[in-house]
Symmetry: C2
Subunit: 498 residues, 2 copies
């Protein structure tokens, strides 16, 4: 455990944590959103970010400040907090983005870290290489070598008695094994915060599945103790998904950039403000104004209101994610968000493909499991129940039934079968997740998962004689049930057929 | 077409309409939410409902006003609008709820309509019988007879020159054929607004599927021209689903009743305020306060803020539903809301079971189709495309492929196959819904729907020789493809297998 980061609650791979930022004298509760403040153009002043939106950390770019004469001077004399008018924690970026964009920059990690220290940054960043997706493996490995050197330079850097924290970016392009290795190497340093880098091109291309794979791989290397920043990720649509992968920090330039382009953020995606007849939001901007009101305003006033709305939506989603972690229903929130766009569904499906990672972190007991889609059948709780089946004591002759206990029988025990979990003894019926709320209109994904539960039980207990009494499962579901199990159809299902 | 109700836009069975309320001199845009104002206890004053929340119609109870001496007098002398301090349209209820609750009331339809007229109601209600769910068919039919008499009394009622509109409630318990008949009979009267009644017990029991069935049945009888009020339905979680079934008016007592009980509404359900550590919402209440702030307040201040939040969320959801109808993505919104609770998924599945009703009303062309769940494979657009396949000209030898056109072939035509739609010729590829956004990680529901499209094509064109080249569909999907179609697996799918 890194001693400046404490975990307080967890759900799926998401968690609520406390990040101590000693130089700022501030503890940031995570998941947290860092608004990006452009040192040249402040759409919403930093003081308002804190007072009106509750931001207790922001991020700005030390490279731009260093390059801009007037800012450079002011930052060095006044200090960053005074210059921006912000009391909370300030993270600074290093120019790596400019490096990726323009091919070279005129500063070393040591120089830029010294500058960040001197202007009063609370969390500073070395000059890593944000390798884009889909490059050759050779390029990704080579650039990872350079990033590793930047991390070594950062470790060697003398922050004096500033207590400044240091970022250790994790790169590796779209190679999961490189991301994992990079994560492991970063976690072995004594650096403090771990940005997963260069995911912006994936998000811009709606490649949420590839983003999830990159994050899960980085997390496997980093381990659960590291505070993880999904660098450049600011769209509220993906906060829940990314938090469920274990991301703790997000930063949003989107709120301002999108407002400048007349774009309006929602948890389901991005709208062109011009296309809206109604504001689909409960924030003060959207309650007090109509789209027509904004159309009648000058450009600057409209941009400010759109930026305010974009921030309200983003911070509300962060609170929603935190509440979901507290309530133990983060995956239920991800289920909802996954329906915002087909690419988000791909992202959720990719998260479920990483179910073994998920299962390792996911708490054993929570409030209630809601089955709300075919994807729910692949949640870690379903897999965990199936594994538990192998360890249960099983009497000789057991009826596994989707109905109640028959009035008259000579089984040694009657166990209920509930899709998607499969069979379980009465003694477990009040335990999580078997208290699940499931739809009445069952689907084949749930039935298939239940059938696989029956198979697991049969295979782990070949000595038991099992009878399955199902409520009309189709043939391709029953295929999963081994031959050793006697299968019968419940009378109510036979009646429905007739 | 009823001349006081005009339809302006439509999506699924949802629509944007204008309800003229001549006595109030107000036109109400639908879908609209009517806050319920208790004439004795006003949680939020009606003037604030209009100014701060944009309510242009509300509902109150004329039976309670008539029974309460002081209110009775004031309403008769000042008039209802003056008494409540509300300029918009006012609908009044009749005491039917009290009848259902206490078995009898001391007023006839004629008397209560006269009272409603005399106090200045804009839309009045006769004394119908809100038959609860699951009663015997005999009871449901008998009570429907009494409701029919109330409608006849209302038709015969002389509103003078008041221009007061009249409600024609549609009952029938959980018998779809009775709901349909009741709807048809109500539509044949010259009454004005059509509440679907007695659905509150269904909603309270989370029986959203039964609610959808009741509404779809009533709508089949009422036809598209009637303005439909889902009476007693005030939870924002189900506005999108109910609007997609064709409901135009909702009323919310929930915002106030729930606040009194310390309950906090969201579009995903209801939270106990006491259980919240964070406010998962962007409204002014939730941005400016934390749950701990509210815990420190006196009971009345807290109740007011919860009621405000509840209203903000409810009105925002109404705007979201309207925007979705305008944008042609109401079913995409229903997809999202269906993941709020397993019972909501049942409701959505029930709506899709009514796909033929849906298909009749759903516009032929919209913005973009998002495939976001297995349920998307059952949307009306998928069925409509399948029906269109039967009417297309088909060359002699056609390759239907999930891949691009092969470099070298001697088919007469190559058509793409896209799950969930199935095959289509190039000429249609830029038309709705074939411009759909679909996930990369295809599911078997989409594949199965596509296979059924292939089957439809083959059956309608037995003379054509069809070859299907699929990307690794499983056996239970391929079962849907008739023997007459040559089936081959794409090389890329075979490679994945290896
Ligand atoms: Mg992809
Ligand atoms: Mg039911
Ligand atoms: Zn807003
Ligand atoms: Zn709120």
């Amino acid at each position: 455990m890194r001693d400046h980061f404490e975990l307080r609650d967890a759900d799926a791979m998401g968690r609520i944590g406390s990040l101590s930022v000693p130089r700022a004298g501030v503890t940031v509760e995570t998941p947290a959103l860092l608004p990006v403040v452009n040192p040249n153009i402040q759409t919403i002043e930093p003081a308002r970010l804190s007072e009106e939106f509750g931001a207790d950390i922001l991020i700005t770019n030390s490279y731009i400040i260093r390059k801009t004469e007037e800012l450079n001077e002011r930052a060095l004399t006044e200090g960053l907090h005074e210059m921006l008018g912000f009391d909370g924690a300030i993270m600074t970026d290093s120019g790596s983005f400019q490096l990726a964009e323009y091919g070279e920059i005129d500063v070393t990690t040591e120089e830029i870290l010294a500058f960040q220290r001197d202007i009063g940054s609370d969390i500073a960043t070395p000059v890593d290489i944000p390798t884009p997706p889909d490059v050759s493996r050779e390029q990704a490995e080579e650039e990872l070598g350079v990033t590793a050197e930047a991390l070594a330079d950062a470790e060697a850097f003398d922050a004096g008695d500033s207590e400044m924290l240091l970022n250790a970016p994790v790169q590796g392009s779209t190679y999961p094994d490189l991301r994992e290795r990079a994560g492991r190497q970063a976690a072995e340093t004594d650096l403090d915060v771990f940005p997963v880098g260069a995911v912006v091109p994936l998000m811009n291309a709606y490649r949420y599945d590839d983003m999830v794979e990159a994050v899960l791989a980085a997390k496997r290397g980093l381990g659960p103790a590291a505070p993880v920043h999904l660098f450049g990720a600011g769209h509220p649509m993906m906060f829940a998904l990314a938090a469920a992968c274990g991301c703790d920090l997000f930063d949003s330039a989107a709120y301002a950039l999108m407002a400048r382009d007349g774009r309006y953020l929602t948890v389901r995606g991005t709208e062109q403000f011009e296309d809206l007849d109604y504001f689909p939001c409960s924030c003060a901007v959207c309650t007090e104004h109509t789209p027509d009101d904004l159309r009648g305003m000058d450009h600057r006033a409209r941009e400010d209101l759109l930026a305010e709305h974009n921030l309200h939506v983003s911070f509300a989603e962060i609170r929603r994610v935190k509440q979901a972690i507290r309530s133990g229903n983060l995956l239920e929130l991800v289920e909802v968000r996954a329906r915002g766009h087909p690419a988000m569904l791909d992202g959720y499906r990719a998260l479920l493909d990483g179910a073994s990672d998920l299962e390792r972190e996911d708490p054993v007991s929570k409030g209630a499991f809601f089955y709300t889609s075919h994807e729910s059948a692949r949640r870690p709780e379903v897999l965990r129940h199936r594994e538990r089946l192998a360890r249960l004591d099983v009497p000789d002759r057991v009826l596994l039934t989707e109905d109640g206990e028959p009035n008259d029988h000579d089984y040694d025990a009657v166990w209920r079968v509930v899709p998607p979990f499969g069979p379980f003894p009465k003694s477990l019926s009040d335990t999580y997740p078997l208290t699940a709320e499931v739809p009445e209109r069952v689907d084949t994904a749930a039935q298939r998962a239940a059938a696989e539960g029956v198979a697991e039980l049969a295979e782990a207990h070949p000595e038991a004689s099992l009878t399955l009494s199902h409520d009309g499962w189709p043939a391709h579901v029953l295929e999963a049930v081994p031959e050793s199990v006697t299968v019968e159809t419940l009378p109510k299902a036979r009646e429905r057929e007739e």
